[in-house]
Amino acid sequence: MSVWVQRLENPLSARLRDPAATGYTGILLGALAAFLCIPPVQARTVTWPIVVGVIAAVFGIWTVTRGRARLGWGAVAAGVIGIGLGILATRSSVGNLNAVFDAALIEQMFAFTTPLVFAAIGGLFSERSGVVNIGLEGMMLMGAFWGVYGADKGGSWVVGLLVGGGVGALLALVYGYFAIHLRADQIVGGTAVNFLALGITGYFFFQFYNGNYIPSGVSTIPNVTIPGLRHSHFFGPAIGNLNIMIWASFVLVIVSYIVVFKTPIGLRIRACGEHPRAADTVGINVYAVRYSCVVVSGILAALGGVYLSDGFTSGGATFGDNMTDGRGFIALAALIFGNWRPAGAFGAALLFGFSSAVALRLQVYSASAATLFNVLPYVLTLIAVAGVIGRTVPPAADGKPYQKQ
């Protein structure tokens, strides 16, 4: 706390000399170096990315000399990568660049980000209360299938959300019983949840739909059209017609931040995740808190899944075996990358969603490069947990079963 108080009391000039500030500025400049070369700015000379990238590197080196070595080298790396990407962009044709980077990329980025945000925030609740949730993938997959089933049989996407969320809660409850009451190893339990979800969804997908496709005309989660923006040249395709769930994911991030960090409930959750015995001593029911959090994580992950099957594709509701395809694990990665904080997880999810959206569009250059681009979130997470740029710190009691005395 005191660091923040100090920073607030410092005059602006002192805060500008803060090595942290210069470090982050350097990283931003590195990103800017690459950004200058793509639409809408689209500089066609290599001068601009090199100039900006070098400035980023200088900021980085200055930060290193002021004692924040990791952050500084991060900024230097950002500058170098920015120059590299900028040069690559100026080398490629304007037509290709426009095909990859248009306003619809923003919409697509949010579409890819949303399921990740729901699952990551779900994981945040669970892990903040001390229960590791490797089963996010499975809970998401269950939501995806049963959500679309509910929307089909119930005749409305609202029913789909309710059924999907309900099944997610049910699966989470089973997991919670094993993880909390039976004190099963949480990694093993989460792995089991993933297998179960894979089997159950595949089984009933074949039983109900013959394993082929979801019939057309199933009610899908609608988009929100913003009248003023719809016909704007840039904002129209970018955010003029986003799905309700995308807007809901933005709200979810803010609400979860407030709940976890600004309310007594959040304090209890975090107490159970950091030191359950202390929480128990002051009268918090650790089991109840953990159960609620695991169920919330199941519901949220499942809602992300419902969006994936019943709102993600504009053509109508879809489902396929193992539809989530590792998104639950990317969400887990986003949670870790974002250091178990809502804003951090959201930022990481945006980064991963952006890389997925770009990967899809890189097909215009080379199909094989586009495929390889998909490793980015996983490599970044590996780098993050390796502690190259700052350390990620999980809640102290994350993954440890608690036994009442």
Partner: protein, 408 residues
Amino acid sequence: MSQAENFPPESPEEAALSGTLAASLSLRQRAGGFIVPLITVVIAFLMSGFVVLATGHNPLLAYRDIFDGAGLNWIFHPTTNLASTAAYNLTQTLLQTTTLILTGLAVAFAFRCGMFNIGGQGQYFIGLIVANWLGYDFAHMSPFPHILICIVAATLAGAAYAGIAGFLKATVGAHEVITTIMLNWVAIWVGSWLFGDGGPLQNASDKTVPISNDVADSAKLPVFWGQQLLQGLDIGIFIAIAALVVFWALLNRTTTGYEVRAVGFNPESAAYGGINVKKNLIRAMAISGAFAGLAGALDMLGYLYHYGQNDIPLSSVGFLGIAVALLGRNTAVGVGLGALLFGALLFGTTHGLTSTVIKPELAGNLTYIIQGLVVLFIGADVLILYIWNSRRKLRRPRGAKAAEAATA
């Protein structure tokens, strides 16, 4: 729970409940012998049977058909003639068993060192990729050295790949579950890239098909039951069985194994006893990965010969290895039996299944459900303790019980 709270030392049952992986593991190994895994499997089959029943199929007939589909009915009419469907199905089940023995060992070895190697799938892919690359590129070699080079290189590659997770755990304390999950996905996408359109390992003849080259004939493992063209049973199964023996001997008869188990049981006391914990974490992870890499090599050289981009998401042998290891209590014999069970399920519910009761598409998913239930139940210490204790009570002579009641 801190160390101080653990003093004086608890009974193993209490230690298991305190939540350290190794402690609960030792309990699992001692509690109930064969009984608990057996009960777990029975419960899993029963519960899956209810799913089958609820969706309008006869579970008993379905299980009988799966049994036949796996070729296990061969024991009633043993023959080496592959015109018999049972014999053919059995060879295919044994091919799956070969893979699962090794992916199971990959999980089991790390477990014995107190780590959860969830990355068997990725290490398996790395082995597969390396074996395919060397198997195709080093053509015109004589068979024995070619096979040897492919297998050794793939095994080492798997070891190195898993070693990354071990290294990160030992140096910066990154949790091996997180790193191996990420490494899995890196391997999956790198594999998709290598075998996919325009990828470096895509086949040379038809660039529209995202499939790798076939390995050269000199790299193919000899087939001893059936024909090479018809996916006969290769000698890989003997290598896998040898790996079981190596696993047992390595753990129980060498200094390495002693150190690995000591670290797995309690890293602090192992360090106090002069064992280099970090070195052992890396080493155990690398040996784990070696088993999985070997699995990939044996599959590639034994019967697959090539691999498609679209095969990658369908493969789950690395994850099945988790169920195999847990069910087999991380022991050599247990892993062998677990691998046979899941190998039979894997083939018997899909390609081998000819049934009027249940379609392969449904039955194939039953395998995942059974797998999930097995892993769920076997991971619950309290459940195991309960079963174990009730069994002990049954065994205890009546006099002891009466005496206990009198003192209470």
